[in-house]
Symmetry: C2
Subunit: 349 residues, 2 copies
């Protein structure tokens, strides 16, 4: 039997903080989803609230409420917070879940195994995804990437929480439908929760080993599965002041092309709306990616804050301006990105 | 009495692997240097071998040899290795030093406190500079950097081991001579060993907290010392595939300007001479830094592999080509960088 989990979203389901919950609902998920905890939606269908697609997964107001109806094996924290601290309002649900014998799955920096109160109740039934691994278990970059023939495509973004992982997962699905074998290298805890086999938790890795862990994941993936294409999940953004990232995916993984996530209606970096610092322009990002050694093959629009007409119009305008395929994954699908990747890779051979 | 140390360079003194040793000899140093261990130079003056300046510090062939002549309190590993592994040939000297009651100071990723044999002899007398700190002790980036009026200048480089820290230290010295107060934020173990107060070990920090630790060091430095200028020691290079770095110093620290270290005779990234991958051109790096949000104010030449005439000629050519002051720190000094920084900052006020 597949393991099943309650997902804690506790009042944050309608925000980007719950992107892990959204990803698991959209699927795939390592665990069958037994329910989502969020009192603002008690009794509603979580899939329907997410994107209008009924998924027969209900919201419950608390873990104890859910346990009256379902028998899950795991309890997953489905919210991310700035700096990875454990929100106080999750504590009671975590303790209830632990008391009921569920395995707690935590993707926050703050480790449940180091929380005296929770660890006492949960004992060994804790999976801390972001528990840092020591240097002795990590890989340094070697350059072996240059001998891996499978092309790498990086999904980068202009910001955090802008749809990078979703686009990568949708592309993998499409490649599969076309009879091609695509693997996604995860770089965040949600990818692991979605059941991806190759990858590492980028932000919980000692800085000196990020490039090496990325290379190692790609090399392992190639050796064990020989895919046609490897998609790399990006983190943060090249110029996100809270933690610039992405050059590893270009320089260390030697990505042939980039699909770039862009949120046209967003003006500030996620969580830093109070700063005067605004998001840099898309045109610069395209040039930056070229200078780092890759090329933007597709622009993927995160349409929050725009209506259908606005985003469709903008999509067409950007495509004309840059001469690069533009699509809105959730509205248009990602077929055009898959096509351009196939076309570009075909040209190289 | 100032603490004093033996520095282990064990056969690597003449290579860039001993850059920590070189930095400590050039000074400043947290510890008075009692001697350098390297059997290839036994009996010679370490300063004289380094740069022709006698410093009354001798080379000894081993720790036990040195202990016949000097009474140090510490023993510092003065070599860095790819991936931070402990070279086997240091083991005997470390054990001898530990047996003699010296405190072992280690900047490698491989922790002496986790080496059963060494830890048994040294007990608590171990300082592991790169021992990772847990997330709970680390700072996330907040944006407070935007309220710090002291200008930040980043010293970046086209590669590792190319003179970034040396240039930063020389500039600090020059500012002091001019009656200005400059602080250097260290980002590597050598900076700490040189007695710098503000900074963190970049590559031993969990990736999500690199930007925050950098911001925190700058904020603390500003609050406690109110300097006229803050110099940031760069690590690696923006496009070093083994671990790209530097965008944090521009985006997260909001550096006003950059002094860029360039090694004209170097063709490959340090330690990766066997790869086909070559160093990218200087012109692209200047543009990359502009796109990341800063500006190259000075180009600093690392002249290894060039004779005096060649490097002087190249220096003049590059200056004409880019219209940016170019200097060779060890031959010309860094006065021109200090002047251009003063000039640029003066224009801003």
């Amino acid at each position: 039997m597949k393991e099943s989990a309650l997902i804690l979203a506790n009042g944050l389901f309608d925000s980007v903080f719950a992107k892990t919950t959204h990803g698991l609902l959209r699927g795939p998920s390592k665990y069958e989803i037994a329910g989502v905890i969020d009192p603002t939606h008690t009794g509603q269908d979580a899939g329907f609230i997410l994107d209008g697609q009924k998924r027969d997964i209900l919201f419950y107001r608390s873990v104890s409420h859910a346990l009256e109806y379902v028998q899950p094996t795991h309890c997953v924290i489905g919210v991310a917070t700035v700096g990875g601290k454990l929100p106080r309002l999750l504590r009671e649900d975590l303790l209830t879940a632990a008391s009921a014998g569920l395995i707690l799955v935590n993707g926050l920096h703050q480790l449940l195994s180091e929380d005296a109160e929770i660890a006492e109740v949960a004992q060994e039934r804790i999976i801390d995804l972001r528990k840092p691994r020591p240097a002795s278990e990590l890989h340094f970059w070697t350059g072996e990437i240059f001998s891996i023939p499978t092309p790498r495509i990086a999904v980068l973004g202009m910001d955090c929480a802008i749809g990078k992982r979703t686009t990568a997962m949708l592309m993998q699905k499409k490649f599969t439908e076309l009879g091609m074998h695509a693997e996604v290298i995860y770089t965040g805890q949600t990818g692991w929760l979605q059941g991806l086999k190759y990858g590492f938790i980028f932000d919980a890795t000692l800085n000196d080993f990020v490039s090496g862990e990325l290379e190692h994941a790609i090399v392992n993936c190639y050796r064990e599965t020989s895919p046609d294409v490897i998609l790399l999940e990006g983190q943060s953004a090249l110029r996100n002041p809270a933690g610039p990232a992405g050059s590893e995916l270009i320089c260390s993984a030697q990505s042939a092309g980039v699909i770039l996530q862009h949120a046209p209606a967003r003006t500030h970096f996620e969580d830093f709306e109070h700063l005067s610092h605004t998001l840099p322009p898309l045109s610069e990002e395209i040039e930056l990616i070229r200078l780092l050694g890759s090329e933007v093959w597709g622009i993927s629009l995160y349409t929050q804050g725009l209506d259908q007409d606005e985003s469709a119009k903008l999509s067409a305008e950007l495509e004309e301006l840059y001469g690069i395929p533009v699509a809105r994954p959730l509205e248009d699908g990602i077929d055009r990105f898959v096509s351009i990747i196939q076309e570009k890779l075909h040209h190289d051979h």
